[in-house]
């Protein structure tokens, strides 16, 4: 079983994220309604399930038939932004890696175990990095991020210290409905913030 995980750059993943938004959420209202997109447009079942976090350290996962996203129930009920990110992350797997996994046709526990054995830590790291990058760029789209910052600061800073963003950080978090960590990474990756 060979996976041939493509090494996609952050920028390339950003282009895929933009294309995804063009297709599934062209009006780009904010925050991006990822749960709605997953259920209504992608026809993915959302299945909140107890004890995923407590017993398995799992926030959520995509099923092998690519048809459902399981989410930890406690996180789903208490932390909406975190859940939004998990859904976007799993949608990222579907968009970026769906074809690879479709071909593998993981329909039994044996095949799943084989996949788990064959998938190296490096490949797994790539897969996770790409899904993370996709999720953050879908929930904080570049154009909208720049637009919000320019609207609030009157300019787009370059490599600024985090303090510059203190007055508008809460507003941005409110607009995009993501965690501070996701927002900071986005600002850093766009060359706006120096960490």
């Amino acid at each position: 079983m060979s996976l041939s995980i493509p090494r996609l750059s952050y920028k390339t993943i950003g282009q895929i994220a933009d294309k995804f938004l063009d297709g599934y959420h062209p009006k780009i209202s904010l925050p991006v309604p990822i749960e709605e997109i997953a259920e209504q447009k992608l026809k993915i079942k959302i299945v909140p399930t107890a004890k995923l976090k407590e017993n398995y350290d799992i926030d959520g996962f995509l099923t092998s038939d690519l048809a459902a996203i399981f989410l930890d129930l406690d996180i789903y009920l208490k932390y909406e932004n975190r859940t939004r990110f998990t859904i976007a992350h799993e949608v990222g797997h579907l968009i970026l890696h769906g074809d690879i996994f479709k071909k593998l046709n993981i329909n039994s526990i044996e095949k799943l175990n084989t996949l788990s054995d064959k998938l190296t830590d490096e490949e797994y790291g790539w897969i996770e990095y790409q899904a993370y990058s996709f999720a953050s760029q879908v929930l904080v789209p570049t154009r909208q991020l720049f637009g919000e910052i320019k609207g609030k600061l009157g300019r787009i800073p370059t490599n600024e210290m985090p303090e510059v963003f203190s007055p508008i950080a809460q507003d941005l978090l409110q607009v995009f409905q993501v965690s501070g960590e996701v927002l900071l990474r986005r600002l850093q990756k766009e060359g706006i913030l120096k960490l």
Binding site: E39, Q40, Y56, I58, T63, A68
Partner: protein, 129 residues
């Protein structure tokens, strides 16, 4: 009488989910609006839980789905709910459920894979969720 066009290849859970999605509500917004437990509704939709036996509870759910009383959908909703209650022998049901869901890629805090033992446990959990 069950309308074959509405219910061809569709069980109670699938019908429930289709009505909810068609009403434009996500699982979260649907449950918030009607004070329902998302885990409970999700289990109904995935067929891991039988519909409630109580007719009043079923009526409340039908109303939440915006199914008009005495409409064809209303009658079908109840017919399908009754059909879902134990007509399939438990052993066949268990067999069918055993590989219904397999986890593929996880989002964990540490970004690590699960051990085989944990994976087996997880498969059992989600197929009985």
């Amino acid at each position: 009488m069950i309308n074959p066009q509405t219910f061809s290849n569709m069980n109670f859970g699938e019908f429930f989910r289709q009505k909810r999605v068609n009403s434009g509500l996500t699982l979260r917004t649907f449950c918030e609006r009607f004070g329902l437990d998302p885990a409970y509704i999700s289990r109904l939709e995935t067929g891991n839980l039988n519909p409630p036996k109580d007719r009043d509870k079923l009526s409340s759910l039908a109303q939440a789905l915006n199914i008009r009383e005495e409409s064809t959908d209303w009658v079908n909703f109840f017919d399908q709910a009754y059909l879902a209650k134990g007509e399939i022998p438990q052993d066949i049901l268990e067999d069918k459920k055993s590989s219904k869901y397999l986890p593929l890629l996880f989002r964990t805090a540490r970004g690590k894979k699960l051990s085989k033992k944990k994976l087996q446990e997880l498969i059992k959990l989600i197929n009985n969720a």
